[in-house]
């Protein structure tokens, strides 16, 4: 498999039926396996839209999104749902856990929803993941009873529960204090290093961006800058070819 994990080919996205707003005006982007990419840019620049398009939550107006070589623009809703369940993990801002469920149930959710039934393996893997994000003693807590940092750990565990090759995170540290934000970032880096999971992180935080292996800057729906952060991130360049 020599194809890239993610490839965007001239992707555009318009909103609105009468007054058209262009959010993305032709994005070309290739992300290789094992990268840890920061997506930065001012508010309204199209970062979140791009993340939704990559995350197969939104369809592009034109252009193609290839995920592990598959052209996703050709797929129907059922197939897209299946890809979302199995190939992608999502870390949204802290309020995107399901409040009616416990931490463990939230982590089991993607697999459970995809397969229809829960299994012991599913539960054991979820427990293992929660333990690895340091929440072994909080598994049975409702997510509303957890702190912001803990909630975001649950979200990371949930994103990783299906072992997807690509995890998308939208401002994962946006609502956290500096200490928690740092912990969450380190956690993602750990999974990136140890399991080779590719991360694409939208962030406002310059300090976070500076610690990613690659920084893509979006302005007005276009990639203005795409640079590699050399020093502390040598590991990311050992990604399989």
């Amino acid at each position: 498999m020599d194809e890239s994990l993610l490839k965007l080919d001239n992707v555009t996205k318009d909103y609105g039926a009468r007054i058209r707003t262009t959010a993305l005006c032709g994005i070309n982007l290739v992300v290789e396996r094992g990268e840890f990419v920061a997506l930065i840019g001012p508010s309204g620049s199209g970062k979140s839209t791009l993340l939704n398009v990559i995350g197969l939550l939104d369809r592009p107006t034109s252009g193609h999104v290839f995920l592990a070589g598959t052209d996703t623009t050709e797929l129907n809703d059922v197939k897209l749902t299946g890809l979302r369940a199995n190939s992608l993990g999502y870390v949204f801002q802290f309020h995107h856990l399901l409040p009616a469920f416990t931490a463990l149930e939230n982590v089991m959710l993607p697999g459970w929803a995809d397969e229809g039934f829960s299994s012991r393996t599913m539960r054991e893997q979820a427990e293992e993941l929660l333990a690895s994000v340091g929440l072994a003693d909080r598994m049975r807590f409702r997510t509303t009873d957890l702190s912001g940092g803990q909630q975001q750990r649950v979200a990371i565990a949930r994103a990783l529960s299906r072992r997807p090759p690509l995890v998308l995170a939208d401002e994962p540290t946006g609502n956290l204090d500096t200490v928690s934000a740092n912990e969450i970032f380190e956690l993602m880096r750990k999974f990136n290093r140890e399991d080779g999971t590719t991360f694409l992180v939208v962030t406002h935080d310059e300090r976070i961006a500076a610690r990613c292996s690659r920084v893509v800057e979006i302005v007005d729906g276009l990639i203005r800058n795409d640079r590699l952060n050399a020093p502390a991130t040598a590991a990311t360049f050992q990604s399989p070819k």
């Binding site: 939550l57 749902t81 999502y90 995107h96 399901l98 959710l109 993607p110 929803a113």
Partner: protein, 406 residues
Amino acid sequence: MPFAWFVALRYLRDARGQTALILSAVAVGVAVVVFLSALINGLQASLIDKTLGTQAHITLHTPREVPRPIVLATRTLAIARVVQPASQRLRSIDGWSGVVTDVERLAGIIAMSPMVTGFGFAVRSEAKEAIAIRGVIPERLLAIIDIRKRMVAGLFDVTGDSVVIGSTLAQALDARVGEKIHIVTTEGADEAATISGIFTVGNEGANKAWVITSLRHAQSLYGLPGGATALEVKVADVFNAEGVARALHERTGLEADSWMKQNAELLSGLTAQNNSKLLIQFFVILAVALGITSVLAVSVVQKSREIGILRGVGTPSRRVLAVFLIQGGVLGLIGSFIGSGMGAILAKLFEALGRSANGEPQFPVTLSLSLFVSASMLATSVGLLAAVIPAIRASHIDPATAIRNG
């Protein structure tokens, strides 16, 4: 546990207030349906019971006699004739015991009772009362109308010259059990008889006129040795009595009158009652359905972000659909259990409250398992149907929009 069930039940448990509210709405609706059915079915059963308590489902008797011409018209012979209607005399059914054995074997026929019926007078000192004599074979009559249960004095005994008479007649004659009365028949017979028992039935006409005696005794009173003037029939399905009556007419050539034909007004009353019951139940169920729909629709709006997340992490839309359908069905089912219980208690209370002088309930209710089963099935399917629109809406939620707006 299946995913959709797990999520549906968790949502119901989590939105406790909403769930309790809609459950009570369903329960009240089902309670009304159950209560109304129990009451109306009970009233109808008791009405029919009273009507059929003294009346056979079907009575077979000889056809009316018609005059037969002696000379028939031919091509060359025209006849001018004045026809005088034949006077009807008391006649026996030809070969009635053969008819009994033949009809009794048919499916849907429970019992048959041959009888000789005729009119006359009962005389005791100065009192003279018009009576209807019914000569019967006791065990056969009892299989159709259980007079023994309606005895108010004495015993049901028609052996020898013993007769059993209605309570109003006994009062009019001022006669008690063990006393003698004279029976004068339309055929001119005049015999003494001993009163062995007095009965009261729901039908005042019977209380006032009936004198029950043995078949043999009545045969001798009317000069019909070995005869029977009518055959009473009990059928399994009382509401099909008319159909059976027509079939029996075809089969035997005898006139067959069903209770339904004789009580057409009662039947149309019952039908009207049934229709109004159904109408009320329909609107109650409709209100319940709208309640479920609106609560679930609100819940879909409230949860649209969560549904977006579920869709986002890879939940197929058919499972989101199932989550809300299950909620509707479960609300209907559980609500129907509570409602059935409430309805049953209400019905029993109502029955206990209104009692007539003799201790019998004024509003008898009929509670059957089938009523509860059908109420539960109805409520569950109404819940499912009511959930269809909210569920479809939920399954169409666009994950990107829902998450973005969150």
